[in-house]
């Protein structure tokens, strides 16, 4: 019990990264990663929703009847997603249009529900908020890595700024769906191979 904030941050960003280690929240991490700008907005949006819904649900954890908790969780999450959607529509209308249905689909993003179930149920509000926030930032980190690869190789740009100084041929495949699957598959493969190697070394020692 009572994990220190540093441990919460480290766990969520690296050792238990929601996307690459828990394989949660995959849909949107594949769909919006063709440009870095979209990924950043999506990541911040998801962190915002996860942090606030964890905070709210943790504060209410003792008054929600156990049997209807899923329903309450969904409603709380949906309320924050609506808030986020309206904010994006008002201040970043073009990005909101590009993200299309994926903003609304944050409701069914397993990361938020996962944090609410696994952490906010048992922990105090502030710790839960921190946990939710960094789970979201861990997701953002992965999104940024994937979209860095895809945007640089697919469009030759970074945040929309041209970095293709040598004028190389860009790979259209990188902005199409298959590349997203290959990159995330490769990242997961690399990480779990590393975890296996480490476990093997510990056994030998």
């Amino acid at each position: 019990m009572a994990e220190r904030p540093r441990e919460i941050i480290k766990r969520n960003l690296f050792s238990d990264n929601q996307v690459l280690r828990q394989i949660l929240g995959i849909c949107s991490s594949l769909a919006v990663t063709n440009t870095m700008r979209n990924s950043l907005v999506m990541g911040i949006g998801l962190s915002f929703v996860t942090a606030l819904s964890s905070l709210t649900l943790s504060a209410m954890r003792n008054i929600i009847p156990h049997r209807v908790r899923m329903l309450v969780q969904t409603l709380v999450i949906a309320a924050y997603v609506i808030f986020l959607d309206l904010l994006l529509k008002a201040y970043l209308p073009d990005i909101s249009k590009q993200l299309g249905p994926y903003v609304g689909l944050i409701i069914t993003n397993c990361i938020i529900m996962g944090r609410a179930e696994a952490y906010a149920q048992q922990n105090k509000p502030v710790a839960s908020m921190l946990d939710g926030l960094f789970a979201g930032l861990g997701y953002t980190l992965v999104l940024m890595i994937i979209s860095l690869i895809r945007e640089v190789m697919g469009f030759g740009t970074l945040f929309g700024i041209n970095v293709n100084v040598l004028n190389l041929q860009t790979w259209t495949i990188m902005i199409m769906p298959p590349a997203a699957f290959f990159i995330i598959g490769g990242l997961i493969w690399g990480l779990s191979a590393r975890a296996l190697r480490r476990a093997g070394k510990e056994k030998e020692a």
Binding site: I26, D85, G185, S192
Partner: protein
């Protein structure tokens, strides 16, 4: 404005060129976790298809006759997700009562489906693209069949690959992603036949 596309084109396109998984990345969580065995994957595919058709139709009616007239567009996400949850619940009870064999086969998947983003995603797509009723229903049916096709292909390949010796770390989700990438690449070959976006 309703797009001037034949509903049948939408139907075929949503199976092949705009496949829910291979082009739109929706419903990935259950796609990855329930695809290790062909038989269960097939059952889930069937259940998803059924729920998608029903929710597409129901959510279209709700949007057109409840949400828009009452000016509740800003609450649409909550309303859609509640319609989906309620429909899945009713479907489960009705199946238990009238089709016990089918319930025994598909029952365990139904609660999973409420949080499957393909279902909410299809509804949001049809709202954003202003489909009419027939277009929505066929879009739902096509999306479901496309999802079913994709999970069946993945499960069949994973069953075969389970018997092969693989490099460390690749088995499990990483392999599933790589297989899906290859399948998605093959499906790009169909692009250009139908254009609906």
């Amino acid at each position: 404005m309703t797009p001037p596309i034949s509903p049948w084109i939408i139907f075929l396109a949503s199976i092949i060129t705009s496949n829910m998984i291979l082009a739109n990345f929706l419903g990935m969580c259950s796609y990855l976790s329930v695809s290790t065995e062909y038989k269960t994957a097939n059952g889930l595919g069937m259940a998803v298809t059924m729920v998608l058709v029903l929710t597409s139709a129901l959510n279209w009616l709700v949007y057109e006759y409840v949400i828009v007239p009452l000016g509740l567009v800003y609450l649409q996400y909550i309303i859609f997700i509640m319609v989906i949850a309620a429909l899945v619940q009713i479907l489960e009870m009705a199946m238990d009562r009238f089709l016990p064999e089918m319930h025994a086969k598909l029952g365990i998947f139904l609660p999973l489906i409420t949080v499957n983003c393909a279902i909410l995603g299809a509804t949001l797509f049809q709202v954003i693209r202003h489909y009419d009723f027939l277009q929505s229903v066929l879009f739902g049916l096509g999306s479901g069949l496309g999802w079913w096709l994709a999970i069946d292909m993945l499960a069949a390949m994973r069953e075969k690959l389970a018997k092969v010796k693989l490099p460390p770390g690749v088995s499990g989700p990483a392999l599933a992603f790589i297989i899906t990438g290859v399948v998605a690449m093959a499906f790009i070959g169909f692009s250009g036949i139908f254009v609906i976006q």
